[in-house]
């Protein structure tokens, strides 16, 4: 399927040039909390992508009927319903991950990316565009989460997705020379990595402009 220029921009813009995390600096709180390991970061990314896309579609469908005075409330109700739905499904089908993510699934409701996209895009755009916008922003958020989690799990625990990458025999405990970086386990390190990504992102995009 050939994408038109506008469609491309709506879908792919948030992945790089207009990334919700590194450019708009939204959704940082959960990006710090769930990125100790790659698996919860992946699930969180997928959950947010689904919820942003779905809520964008629903709000876009309703956009001409929503009374202006209670539009934020209606948006919140839709988001809260979807988040509860995802949380229930996770508890039923991926209990371990649901426990790992604990409160952060519920806190997707307060993720600024959602309200931001609903207010800025879905309230004034058609359904298909809104869907692409939600998909793009969700994936943009997920991409940053995955990058951060990749570094934190690799250097913090020596594993990726639970599989051992750095051999056991390298560790000091087994007579080797290597030790995990305990700092990577702390939320502060996630902020430093996000900072590093923002730095690299700005440096690259400056040259392009």
């Amino acid at each position: 399927m050939a994408l038109s220029q506008k469609t491309k921009e709506t879908l792919l813009g948030p992945l790089n040039a207009n990334n919700p995390v590194v450019v708009q600096v939204l959704g940082i709180c959960s990006a710090l909390a769930v990125t100790v390991q790659l698996k919860p970061a992946l699930v969180m990314g997928v959950a947010v992508t689904i919820i942003v896309a779905m809520s964008n579609v629903i709000i876009s469908l309703l956009r001409n009927t929503i009374p202006m005075r209670i539009r934020i409330i209606v948006q919140l109700v839709v988001v809260a319903a979807l988040v509860t739905l995802v949380s229930e499904v996770l508890k039923a089908f991926a209990y371990d991950v649901a426990m790992q993510l604990s409160v952060y699934i519920g806190l997707i409701i307060t993720n600024c990316i959602l309200m931001g996209r609903l207010e800025a895009f879905a309230m004034t755009n058609k359904v298909w565009d809104s869907f692409l916008d939600g998909l793009g922003n969700g994936l943009g958020y997920a991409a940053i989460l995955i990058i951060v989690a990749f570094f934190r799990e690799l250097f913090g625990a020596g594993t990726l997705l639970g599989f051992r990458v750095i051999p056991e025999s390298w560790y000091v405990a087994n007579g080797g020379f290597y030790e995990n970086c305990g700092m990577m386990m702390m939320p502060a390190m996630a902020l430093i990595i996000v900072g590093g990504i923002i730095w690299a992102h700005r440096a690259i995009n400056k040259e392009e402009k």
């Binding site: 100790v36 001409n64 009927t65 929503i66 009374p67 202006m68 005075r69 209670i70 409330i73 209606v74 109700v77 839709v78 809260a80 319903a81 509860t84 739905l85 229930e88 499904v89 508890k91 039923a92 089908f93 209990y95 426990m99 604990s102 409160v103 913090g156 305990g182 386990m185 702390m186």
Partner: protein, 230 residues
């Protein structure tokens, strides 16, 4: 239609809320049994952990659980699981307490003397990864194995979790996690408080003989020696 009139706004809000409520209630009903099964399986896995069963490669933890745990009874509103591991009776007690950021819990398996700890398993809601969250890891849990919850007089005194180098008075101790003082103290307090709740169960041992030896040494002649020390 005027979408900004009061009537429209009220009707709209009502309809939206009712639709969402019905939808969520439906989903909750449909997924409820599955979620309950998950919660139960999780609990069974934790009890197996306290009984020192390695379930990382176990296909059917529930079957293993039912092959080991023979009976469950209630003590003062708290469950006691009676298990049989390699022909020996073990009692598993449920623990619940508070860590630094949220609740902590766990299961404590005792030998049939209701004194020696067979195994311990802990869980937590939101302790700091890499610090307090280490209470769920084996190195911390294994410290409890073989410790005694009673003193030389046979009174239940629990096991203290203390900074390495400090000495507990009149009870046995394990090393606290460095950098996680509040979580460690939480585990210590949880053990003490929960064992007190199980007093009725722990006291019903008529022919109880105080055990006064070191954890590993069994010496039946010398029952009046000093309390055990680590």
């Amino acid at each position: 239609m005027n979408t900004n009139s009061n009537t429209y706004t009220i009707v709209y809000a009502t309809v939206v809320v009712i639709i969402v409520a019905v939808l969520l209630a439906l989903v909750s009903q449909v997924l409820g049994p599955r979620q309950q099964a998950n919660i139960q399986l999780d609990q069974q896995k934790q009890i197996l952990g306290a009984l020192k069963q390695d379930i990382s490669n176990c296909d059917d933890p529930a079957a293993l659980y039912f092959s080991l745990v023979k009976d469950t009874f209630d003590c003062n509103g708290h469950p006691v699981y009676v298990a049989e591991v390699e022909g020996e009776t073990k009692f598993v007690l449920k623990l619940k307490g508070a860590g630094l950021w949220g609740g902590i819990g766990g299961y404590l398996a005792l030998n049939d003397d209701k004194n020696t700890i067979f195994g311990a398993n802990f869980n937590h809601e939101s302790e700091t990864p890499g610090l307090g969250a280490l209470i769920v890891e084996l190195p911390f849990r294994q410290q409890f194995e073989g410790k005694h919850i009673r003193n030389a007089q046979g009174e239940v005194v629990s096991v203290a979790v203390l900074k390495a180098g400090t000495q507990a008075e009149g009870q046995e101790q394990v090393d606290a996690l460095s950098g996680a003082t509040i979580t460690s103290t939480g585990v210590s307090d949880m053990l003490k408080a929960n064992l007190a709740e199980y007093a009725a169960f722990l006291s019903e041992l008529p022919d109880y003989q105080p055990e006064a030896e070191e954890a590993e040494v069994v010496n039946e002649e010398n029952q009046t020696s000093n309390q055990t020390e680590e």
